[in-house]
Every structure is written in C-alpha cells, then in structure tokens.
Amino acid sequence: MSIFQELKKTTRHLSRGQVHDHDPNAPILRAENVSVHYESGNALEDISFELIPGERIAIVGPNGAGKSTLIKVVAGVQTPSSGKIQIFGHHPDGHICIAYVPQRTQVDWNFPVTVADVVMMGRVGKMGLFRNPKASDWQIVQKSLEVVSMGRLAKRQIDELSGGQQQRMFIARALAQEAELILMDEPMTGLDVTSQDEIFKILDQLSKENVTVLISLHDLKMASERFDRVILLNKELLAIGLAEDALHPDNLLKAYGGTLQLLPTDKGMLAFDDTCCEGEHDHA
C-alpha cells in the first residue's frame, strides 16, 4: 500500500467514518478464489469458503500449509495476489470487528505493559486518534478480563502470566474490541490440557453470543472433537465440513502424505501428524 493510500485511510480514521456497515444478508466471511504467491513459490492456491456466524472452525494442515498466511489474509493485513476476502459483504480493510490473536512465540513478553494495558489495545480502534481511554473504556477492559476469569490479574505484568493466561488475555483483548470474528494462530500450542479446557469453555460462551472463531491448529484430534467444522489445508483447500467428512483418511493422506499416522481405535480411524509444533514457518 502506498503512503498516499495510507494517508487517505488516516483521514478516514480521523473522521471515524471508515467502518463499513455490515450487510446483514452477506456471510460474516467469504473467501473467493484467494491465492497468495511469494517469490519462493505459492503459499495459498485458489481458496474459497464461507463462514457461518457463531461457528467454531479449525484450520488444520501440515507445517508450511499456509495456515498463518490464510489467517493474515482473512485479517486483512496481507493482500492476496488474486481473489478476494469479504467480511459482511465488504473488503476486510474497513472492519474493526476482526480480532487477531498472535502466536505466543511472536510476542515480546518482556514488553513493559500490564495485562490491562494489552486488553486496552482492543479499544484503540474504537477510540480513534487523539483520544484517551475514558472510564467506560477501563470498565470494558475489566469486564472483558472477568469473562476470561482474569479480573484479578489486570495489574499483572505480562511476563508473569502462564501460557494459558497469556492466551486468555488476548481473548479478553478481542472481547474489548467487541469483535465478531476472532482469528487465533495456533493458540493451543504448548498449553497443558487444563489451560486448553479453560479456553474451550470461553470459546463455548463466545459461540452462544454469535462470535465466530477461526483457529489454526496442528492437533487433528482436537480439531475433530472440539470444533463445529474443519478446514483441511495444504496450500489448496482440500476439504471443509464436519470433522468426520473433512478429515476422512483419503483427504488426510492428500494433505499429509507420508507424514501421517493412521490409528484404528474404538472411535473409528484416528489420524495423527507427527510434524512438530512450535509455529509453522510461513513467509511473514
């Protein structure tokens, strides 16, 4: 984007007129033939899908499948080489209803801010330039923290949080943002089962309030057990749908090839990938 375009955007931001009205008949998210090409090759090819409001949907696929890239394209921070993303019928650029939760490893946990400071960042888009947080903003921050059971940790330094608390703080930031679509990049990586359960409980609550959640994962078992729908990705969109259909062994073999392990159990055929986890290395 050129500096000139940015300036135009800033003027809109200043007048606070940049937020598109939501078209009630349009889907919350529609991806149409989205492709992303890098000099080193293609990251995403011809991806099309739509999201249903309030659903919880997981993106799975091997390392380098383009999961992080897809999330960035949906967030509107990366422009696809071709195709388009629409949020409530408009380009994502004009929406501040999309919340992004970074991979924990991408965050500088020594940054000198408190939990409340980070959650307040969710209000920055609503406040507009040249305005300071008001008492009502701080109330929203506190309420958001209470929803994720972190009301007492508002004044904590972020480097004192456990992995689960770090993730819940970012969910609180999305709540303070009043987001309708929450994008999370590998939020479960490195968390113990208890912390994961706590996060799923919060996500259940969000679902009831019609907040849509799109999450990238590497854990196929979790994707199949705890999500409404699953997107199976390996540069192309190989399948989208209920876990039992999308994660059909034939599809999984297409996605994972030789790295896949199939395991027959009493619940049917379970498939695992053995690629490891600490963040996929997409081209940023």
């Binding site: 800033t10 967030a75 940054f111 888009g125 330039l129 330094q157």
Partner: protein, 279 residues
C-alpha cells in the same frame, strides 16, 4: 560544595550548555524508549551517521553559521530515515544490510565533502563528537521547539505507538495506519538526532538514544515510568557530565555519555548483586 556547584554557573556558556544537555537528554531518552523496545539501536546509530552530508552542505553553504547546519541536517536525517525504511520494505535485502549500505555511504559522502575545506579536521571533530558548551541562544530555541514538538507527538500518539510496537499485526486489524505511524516514529528519531547533534555529535548519538532508556528498562516494567526514569537518568548525565567536563577538562559529549554508561553499569551491577542476595 556550594561553590563547587555555583562556580561554573557564572559563565553564560555553562548555563546554556546545561540547559541544552538536559533538554537533549530528555528528548532522546523518551524517544529512545521506543528505540530500545523495538530493537532499533543500529538504525539509530546509522541514522546519526547518515546526517553528516547534510551537516556538510550546511557547513559549506552557511560558512560557519549555525542555522543552515540545523536545517540541512534535518533534511538529511529525514531523507535517510525514509530511504532506509523504503529499501528494506521493498527489496529482499534485509533491514540491517540496507542500514549498513546507506549508513556507510552517506557517512563517507559527508567526510568527503567536509574534507574539501582547508583545516577541516577541527570542524569534523566538532560534528562527530559535539560541543555542548558552544551552544548559542539561537541553538537553544531550536532545541527547545523541535524537542518539545517531538515529545508532544510521542504523547499524542502514545496509544498508537504502543500498539504498533507491541503487536503490529493486531494494529493492522484495528485499521491503524501502521506504515505511516512507523514512518512518523522514524522521523521523530531523526529529529531527535538533529536536536542532539550539538550535544554529543554524530558518533556518540546512539548512547543518548539507548543507554538511559536501557537503564530504565532494567528498573521498571511500565512504559510511562520507563520514559520518566530514562529522562531523569539522561538529565542527570547531562548535568554531571558537564561538571566533569568543566573541572577535568574532558570533552563535553564524551563526559555526558560516560556518565550515562556509568549509571547503566551501577544499576545493572546493583540489580545483579541484589538478586543474588535476595535469592
């Protein structure tokens, strides 16, 4: 003791020097907080060096006058800040390489230009290491107005700079003009460098940007407190440095930087001992 403190103050050049050192210290410490948190120390160092051709043009054009030096340095600093930003964004060359290319190239150009003047070594040394005791009242008002403007902008865009520094992707989803704010921050660093030019010179500039802020970073985990502490350390360094310079005849810029470094060393050492003991 009182006499020790008051004696230098009877000289107008000392009073002006102290005012300049404190003002420069506060501005560069506050801006330096972001330099430290965003890991831009090398960028700051390079930017300081790359204003030399601007200084040289001002020197050649103005024939020793101060004002042209300031304005030409400002133009050079803003151009190189934008140049570095643009090259590293638009090519596959990594940012530190882009910085290295522009830094060394422009610094060499500056030296080449200044060296065309007879007896250039004295003036070159002045630009490289600064001389805060040679500050005139006209310089003071430039330092005051541009320094004040810089601090004001840092405060006005406080929450935006915080978000783009902590989580740039999230900032983009808030539809903040991230690139524009990034450039604004680069320009503020550039202005800070030009404002501080007379106090510490090109070569020692990076110390004013990073050392007080890094010292403060060791002591606090709150950004506003970090800025306040950094400004305090920098002001103390300016004052103590100038007294050292007065009584021991040390070059003023290096005296200020040495005090900054000593404070960092004391805080770091003190904290290390404190942690050992309290464990």
């Amino acid at each position: 003791m009182l006499e020790f403190i008051l004696e230098p103050l009877q000289y107008a050049f000392m009073v002006r020097g102290l005012a300049a050192a404190v003002a420069v210290g506060i501005v560069s410490a506050v801006v330096g907080t972001y330099v430290v948190l965003r890991g831009m120390a090398f960028f700051g160092d390079a930017l300081a060096h790359s204003i030399l051709p601007g200084v040289a043009v001002g020197y050649l054009v103005g024939g020793g006058a101060r004002e042209p030096l300031f304005w030409w340095a400002l133009v050079a600093a803003i151009l190189s800040a934008l140049g570095i930003g643009t090259i590293s964004r638009n090519t596959k060359i990594k940012e530190d390489t882009a910085i290295g290319i522009i830094f060394a190239g422009t610094f060499a150009l500056g030296i080449a230009m200044i060296s065309t003047v007879d007896g250039y070594t004295v003036d070159l040394a002045h630009f490289l290491f600064g001389d805060v005791l040679a500050v005139r009242s006209g310089d003071l008002s430039l330092i005051g107005s541009f320094g004040g403007l810089t601090i004001l902008l840092i405060l006005v865009f406080y929450k935006e700079f915080l978000v783009i520094s902590f989580d740039p992707i999230f900032a983009a989803t808030l539809r903040l003009p991230v690139r524009l704010l990034d450039f604004l921050l680069l320009i503020l660093i550039a202005v800070t460098i030009v404002v501080s030019l007379q106090a510490v010179g090109v070569a020692l500039m990076v110390a004013m940007l990073v050392t007080p802020a890094a010292t403060a970073y060791l002591l606090t985990k709150r950004l506003p407190i970090m800025m306040a502490l950094a400004a305090t350390f920098a002001s103390i360094s300016g004052v103590v440095g100038l007294y050292l310079s007065y009584y021991w005849s040390i070059a003023s810029g290096s005296a200020i930087v040495l005090v900054c470094t000593a404070i960092f060393g004391l805080v770091w050492g003190g904290l290390t001992i404190f942690r050992r003991v309290s464990n």
